[in-house]
Symmetry: C2
DNA sequence: CTGAAAGCGCTTACAG
DNA sequence: CTGAAAGCGCTTACAG
C-alpha cells in the first residue's frame, strides 16, 4: 500500500499538502491536481488507523445485542447499521448473550479500541455493568430497555407497560373477562403489569395463577405454556403472549386443543414480527416500533458526537400501537 | 486515559518494559510486579489503535451480508461473531443489500481501516466486485455462495443442486409425479436444477410452466406464487418452495384453497429455519447447515491468519440433509 | 497557501 | 533481562 509520503514525493509537495488535499481543505487548484494525479497513479488510500491515532476519532460505533438470531434484535441491528453507514460510521457488533461477563469483556475491548460511541440493546446482562458503562470514555446510549431505566445514561425505548395496557384494553373492549398469559419472566413483567391495569380499570383481577411463565422465547415454549394454561383454565376466553414468538406456538396449541381462533378464543401477541401477519388467522398484536427506536438511539448518539458533547440524558419513550388482525374477537356467548 | 509512558514513569522503568509485561513476554518477576501495580493504580489500558499501527494487525474481521433481518443471514452473523470472539477477534459488520456499489464502498473502507480479513456471505451484489475482492490486501473467504464459485477465492458453501435433488428424490419416493415450484429467481436456480434431476432420473420432466417465479423472499410472495401455481395446475400433488419463508406462505395458500396438507398435497421447503418446525403441519424441508458453514468459513480464515499465509483456495461443500416432517406424504390415489 | 517539526501510543530491532 | 532510538502513517499547530 502506498503511503502519504510516497504520494507527496511523487507530486513534489510535502505530506501536509497531501493531507490537506485528502481531507478536502483549501489547496491551490494546480497543486491539488498534481496531488490527485499522484494519488490515482499510486492507488493511494489513507490509512485510517493512523488518522485515528492522530485525531482520536475512529468513526466506529459499537453495538451490543443479546443475540442476533432473533427477529427482534436482527431488525435492530439492521436498522442501526443502515443509519450508521448513512452517516459515515462503521459498526462493531458484539453479542452479550444476556451475560454480564461477556458484556464486561466486550466493553473493555471497545475501550481499548477507542470506539467513538456505544449503543446497548437489551437490559438483561447489562444491568450489573451499568456503573462501568456510565464511566466509559465515550458516549453510551441504551435502547430497547425494559426495566427501570438508570438515570446515569440516556435511554430510548418504548413504554412496555403501556404496550401491555393496549393489549388488555383491546381484550376488555371486546368483552373478555378471563385471560391467560404466557410470558417470559421476569423479563416481560411490565407487559403483564399493563395488561392487569387495563383489567383493573374495570374491577377485574388477573391472578398469578393465570400467568404461565417461560424462561426463553421460542414457539415450543409458547405451545407448552398455552397447553398448560388451557388445561388449568378451560374457561378462559383469551390468551395474551408477551412475545409473538411465543404467540406463534400458543396459537397452534389453542387450535390443536380444538378451539377455533378467534371464535372460541382470542390470541394476542406482542412485537409485530413479520411472520405474524401471515399466520392463520392473522395475529392481533402490539406493534413495537423497532426501527424507529434504533434510529432514534443512533441519532441521539450521532448528534452528540457531532456536537462533541455528551448525549442529552433523556428517557425517550416511543408509542407502541395495537394492530388488530383476525385472531381476536368477542368471547363466545356463555352457553355457546 | 493513562498511557504506557505514564505507567513506565510510575513504575520506574522504560516503556519497552511495560510493553513486554503487557504482551506477556519474559520479564523479571519483581519488575513485572512493579509494572502491574502501576497499571492497576493508573487503570491503564493499552491503546489498540497504536498497537495496530505498529504491528499491522487489527484483530478485526469484516463480514458482509446482504441483509441481517432475515433468519438465514442473522444465524450466519451470530455464528460468525461467536467463533470470532472465541478467537479474540472483533467483528465489523456491513450490509451489502445485494448491491455492487455498497459492496465496493464497504470494501474500500475496510481496506483503509486495515481489517485483518474479510468474510463475504451471499453472491448477489458481490459478483461484479469479485476482481476487486481478489486483489484485496487481506485474505477473503466467500460463503453461502450459490452460483458458480469463482476460482480466485476460497468458498465454503453447500451443494445447492444436491439439496434440490434431495427434495426431488423425497417427492419421487413418495410417488409424486406432478410438482409445482415457487422460487426466487434467478437466485435459486440451482435448487430447481436438482429437483429436476431427481424427477428426470425416473423419466419425468418438470416443465418451465410448473415454475412460479418470485423476486423476493417473503411469505406473501410464497402465498401468491402458490395461489397462481394451484390455479394453473389443479392436478399437482406436491409443491416445492425454494425457501422456507416462501413455503410458509405457500402452505397457507394450499390450505386456504381447501386442500389438506399432506393428504391432498405435499409441501416441501428449503433451509430449515426455526419456525417451520412449528407450522401446522410441521414442514418437511431441506436443512442447510448454516452454523457449520459459518464456522468453517471463519476457521478457514483464522487458520490462514495464524499461519500468515493466504487461505487455501478450496471449494468446501457441506452436505444438506432432508428433514422429513408432516407436510409430505404420498399423493392421493387418483379418483380420491 | 505551503514547508519543517512534533506528536498520537504503541512495537521492533539493537545495544548494553 | 533492561534501556535509548527509530518507526508505524497520519494530523496539528506554527512559521514562512
Amino acid at each position: 500500500m502506498a503511503t502519504m509520503a510516497e504520494v507527496a514525493a511523487l507530486a513534489g509537495v510535502t505530506k501536509q499538502t497531501v493531507s490537506n488535499v485528502v481531507s478536502g481543505k483549501k489547496v491551490r487548484p494546480d497543486t491539488a491536481a498534481k496531488v490527485n494525479a499522484a494519488i490515482a497513479q499510486l492507488g493511494y488510500k489513507p490509512n485510517l488507523l493512523a488518522r485515528s491515532l492522530a485525531t482520536g476519532a475512529t468513526m466506529t460505533v459499537g453495538l451490543f445485542v443479546p443475540v442476533v438470531a432473533n427477529p427482534f434484535y436482527s431488525e435492530l441491528v439492521e436498522e442501526v447499521e443502515n443509519v450508521l453507514v448513512r452517516h459515515g460510521y462503521n459498526l462493531l457488533l458484539a453479542t452479550t448473550r444476556d451475560d454480564g461477563e461477556y458484556t464486561r469483556r466486550h466493553l473493555d475491548i471497545l475501550t481499548r479500541r477507542s470506539v467513538d460511541a456505544l449503543l446497548v440493546a437489551g437490559d438483561a446482562g447489562v444491568i450489573e455493568q451499568l456503573p462501568t458503562l456510565a464511566t466509559a470514555p465515550f458516549p453510551v446510549v441504551l435502547f430497547a430497555w425494559e426495566v427501570d431505566p438508570p438515570d446515569t445514561l440516556p435511554v430510548v425505548s418504548i413504554d412496555y407497560e403501556h404496550a401491555g395496557f393496549l393489549a388488555g384494553r383491546h381484550l376488555r373492549e371486546l368483552g373478555h373477562e378471563k385471560v391467560v398469559v404466557v410470558a417470559v419472566l421476569p423479563a416481560h413483567t411490565r407487559r403483564i403489569d399493563g395488561l392487569r391495569r387495563a383489567f383493573a380499570a374495570d374491577g377485574l383481577t388477573i391472578g398469578d395463577d393465570m400467568i404461565f411463565a417461560r424462561t426463553t422465547d421460542d414457539p415450543a415454549g409458547g405451545f407448552a405454556g398455552a397447553d398448560a394454561a388451557l388445561a388449568a383454565h378451560p374457561d378462559a376466553t383469551a390468551l395474551f403472549a408477551t412475545h409473538d414468538i411465543l404467540a406463534l406456538g400458543a396459537l397452534q396449541a389453542v387450535q390443536e386443543s380444538g378451539r377455533r381462533v378467534p371464535e372460541d378464543m382470542s390470541v394476542v401477541g406482542f412485537d409485530d414480527i413479520a411472520q405474524v401477519g401471515r399466520t392463520h388467522p392473522a395475529m392481533t398484536t402490539v406493534a413495537v416500533p423497532k426501527r424507529e427506536m434504533a434510529q432514534q438511539a443512533v441519532e441521539l448518539l450521532l448528534r452528540s458526537l457531532e456536537a462533541e458533547r455528551p448525549p442529552t440524558n433523556v428517557v425517550s419513550l416511543l408509542r407502541p400501537t395495537l394492530v388488530v388482525r383476525d385472531s381476536s374477537a368477542p368471547p363466545p356467548r356463555s352457553g355457546d
